[in-house]
């Protein structure tokens, strides 16, 4: 039996790594990859808590979170395609410049 504390520490580390990636990358593609890592940390926390209490509520929430992450990736990649066709680059900072 894996202790709850170790699992939550791993989930925190994964979440913070993803947050660091979101803060330092300017490429929208890698920003979406970092968001996946961040959500993976949250899903890990849900699984660990569900296993600790021996109930399936946490697993259902985790699968719901998986669906949410997939929807988020679909919309994010669509925005990436649109950014490339409009601005011809991947830099998310280029969206802060106003144009016309």
């Amino acid at each position: 039996m894996i202790p709850l504390m170790y699992g939550l520490i791993v989930a925190s580390i994964l979440f913070v790594i993803g947050l660091l990636g979101v803060m330092i990358r300017r490429n929208l593609y890698f920003l979406l990859l970092s968001l996946v890592i961040m959500n993976n940390g949250a899903i890990t926390a849900l699984f660990v808590a569900s296993s600790y209490w021996q109930q399936s509520d946490g697993e259902v929430l985790a699968i719901l979170a998986v669906t949410t992450v997939l929807a988020q990736i679909v919309v994010g990649l669509t925005l990436l395609v649109k950014l490339i066709y409009r601005r011809k680059n991947f830099n998310i900072d280029s969206l802060s410049e106003m144009k016309g």
Partner: protein, 163 residues
């Protein structure tokens, strides 16, 4: 068993660090797959088998397929934003690293300092209530995916009809 958990978590953390610092797209996707599979191994060790299988099928396959399809479709091979030869310059990552480290210390302090024995009671009622809400939650999740697909189609369709 705890040794396998340690190895899997170390692999997940190291692969995640490589993902956020590397500049080639294929390498990043491969390391992301390794990180997610290590997480799936942790879930299998926690004896949540069916959810782990659903995680592998939906999450890993979906994420890898979507990212790979977009990178092939748009011919993305390298990160062209970071032009520095030796990766991202320390001027960019030093401040966020300090902030993220402080957040990590606070999170681990909160996890370690919690008394888990007092969480053991009074969850029966919530379980009884929530078991009827699962059908509604599954429908909501399906509608969310459908909405995402409709938004993606609408964006791409409008973008091509403008040209």
């Amino acid at each position: 068993m705890i040794v396998v958990f340690y190895i899997a978590s170390i692999i997940a953390v190291v692969a995640s660090i490589i993902v956020i610092f590397c500049r080639r797209v294929e390498k990043a996707i491969l390391y992301l797959a390794i990180s997610l599979f290590a997480s799936a191994l942790i879930f299998i060790l926690l004896k949540t088998y069916i959810s782990a299988v659903l995680y592998i099928l939906f999450f890993i396959c979906g994420v890898i397929l979507l990212f790979l399809a977009v990178s092939i479709l748009l011919k993305i091979h390298k990160d062209s934003v970071e032009t520095n030869k030796h990766g991202i310059s320390p001027k960019i990552w030093l401040g966020p690293l300090v902030l993220a480290f402080i957040l990590l210390v606070i999170l681990i302090y909160g996890v370690v300092g919690t008394d888990y024995s007092q969480f053991k009671q009074s969850h029966e009622l919530m379980h009884q209530m929530s078991i009827y809400a699962y059908v509604l939650m599954i429908e909501l999740a399906v509608f969310l995916l459908l909405g995402a697909a409709v938004i993606a189609y609408y964006f791409i369709h409008r973008m091509f009809s403008e040209k």
